[in-house]
């Protein structure tokens, strides 16, 4: 029970701050409305979270290669521009599906979190779209507009270190 209250508060406080930042005033009516609205939203979020539909754990060390992301986005925009130019000047461009190795055989919360993070971060780069990760085979299906040799996955997200006794935390 205390855990649920903790999560509720963890939702409530940022929501109230967000509301106050948006209305940009401390008038009593606005503040009261904000407190009530944030309470409703925090309750809804906590109800969904307690259904336990999706468990994921997150490790900060996966973000070690995050600084490469903006440069990759800019580089991919250049690739897309070049592909558009080629497409318009008579050499049609087609994207391809590629299979990329991605070890993720453990079926626990940490792997789910890693899969979700890789999906979101890789799809942010314009040239690559993650279609899915097949856990059993340890591979990831991506679609690339301009086939880019090598693996688009940042190295810090490939490793599945830590204790691998498969225990669900």
């Amino acid at each position: 029970m205390a855990r649920r209250v903790g999560f509720w508060i963890a939702w409530y406080v940022p929501l109230v701050i967000l509301w106050l930042a948006f209305v940009d005033t401390f008038a009593v009516a606005e503040v009261v409305l904000g407190l009530v609205a944030a309470a409703v939203a925090a309750t809804a979020a906590e109800v969904v979270r307690s259904q336990d539909l999706f468990r994921s754990r997150f490790e900060l060390r996966w973000l070690r290669d995050l600084h490469r992301l903006p440069w990759q986005v800019l580089r991919d925009c250049w690739l897309l521009a070049a592909a558009l130019w080629r497409h318009c000047t008579g050499r049609p461009v087609r994207g391809v599906f590629r299979v990329v190795p991605f070890p993720s055989d453990a079926d626990d919360a940490r792997t789910a979190g890693r899969r979700a993070l890789v999906t979101a971060l890789l799809s942010a780069t314009p040239n690559t779209l993650v279609v899915g990760v097949e856990g059993g085979e340890g591979e990831m299906l991506v679609h690339q507009l301009v086939p880019d040799p090598g693996s688009p996955v940042p190295p810090s997200m490939l490793a599945d270190g830590g204790d691998r006794d498969g225990r669900d935390e």
Binding site: C77, R94, G95, V96, A124, P126, V131, P147
Partner: protein, 110 residues
Amino acid sequence: MSLRELAVSALLVLGVVVTLFSCLGVLVMRDAYDRLHYTTPAAVVAPVAIAAAVVLEERLSAAGVKAVLVAVVLAVTNPVLGHATARAARIRQFGEWTVREEEREGGSPP
């Protein structure tokens, strides 16, 4: 024109050009997956440029904070939406999205 005004104008031009480039890409490409790739620059690069222009102009007032928030929401939701659309397109095409045999050796067109 001060340096700040020049920077604001340059960022605006960048945002508009990137977005129009995305629209052109979506129009010209022939395949749904290829069109999806071109939605990303308009949602990741352009909002950052425009929000940066707003912040340069307004500092971090209410307007600046809200513009940054909109840019963050756009940049975070577009990859998820692209992934969901690509997966839905593949399920629609093949019945399921899992890897097919001919795609294991090298890349193959969809």
